[in-house]
Amino acid sequence: MTGSTWLARVIVTPKPVVNDPQGLTVAQGLRTLGFDEVAEVRVGKYVEIRVTAEHKREARERVEEMCRKLLANHVIEDFRFEVEEAPAPAEVPSG
């Protein structure tokens, strides 16, 4: 695969109709700490993917396919993502 490297940031969240026990529990924890202003908490997942593609549009299409096929379960989850040109990978010191 040739082309540029892109960084996709994918966010997967439970659908509004799905009860989110983790979110409810975190909300309770925050209120216990005195954050009385907390109205609701939803807990989801954050996934970073580095992909190679000619163009940004192509990278977006592929990432969308990844989300539909594996990263999110459409029965219980929604997803959204953004794609940007990836910074060069950091040098890993050898030895």
């Binding site: 439970p14 109709v17 799905v18 009860n19 026990p21 983790q22 529990t25 997942k45 594996l70 990263l71 379960n73 029965v75 219980i76």
Partner: protein, 234 residues
Amino acid sequence: MRFGVVVFPGTWSDRDCGWVIDQVLGAELRYLWHKDRDLQGCDCVILPGGFSHGDYLRTGAIARFSPVMESVAEFAERGGLVWGICNGFQILCEAGLLPGALIRNDALQFRCEWTHLVCERTDTAFTAVVERRQVLRIPISHGEGNYFADPPTLSRLEQHGQVVFRYADEHGFVVPAANPNGSMHNIAGIVNERGNVLGMMPHPERAAELEIGSADGLFLFRSLLDSGVKVLTA
């Protein structure tokens, strides 16, 4: 009746299922590796409990793309008997062979305890020797067994009588207190419309000998043997 038990990396109930089939019932047993496509002529394929592929991302999400699952889907399509237990149920939902999904238990705890199930369908190959409304004592062992389906799917399941097992009290009353994980409508197990694919969270293979607390799980294994349904061979 030849049983096939699928083994994924991280499966933990394969040997328990195998023990019941082989040692308790004396039936024919084959272990099916997740990378193989050959179902070895099995009449019933069991997807056992465990944490396939570490259950990373979501329970069953990676396992459903295993080579063996293509064969299982084709087998189910042709009317073959497929039985998902615990992680197997989660895999069947991920694969779209059963509707809905299993999400985190409402109490957020991993629940490992005895439950009572009331059986509402006795006309399936999996429950043929169970009596209608019979209460079975079978344990659960899961962190993500909270059955969810959107309202149209849920009403379709109920209309078509696809709910086979519900969590109940020891007398068979379906009450909120008997629900160990927050499942909608106390659902513990469902079948597809055709009735050849069953998914359930409780573990019948761990309730197959009185010495370990209950032999009620045998009703399901015996149903498969006794029903004599030689429906299809993989």
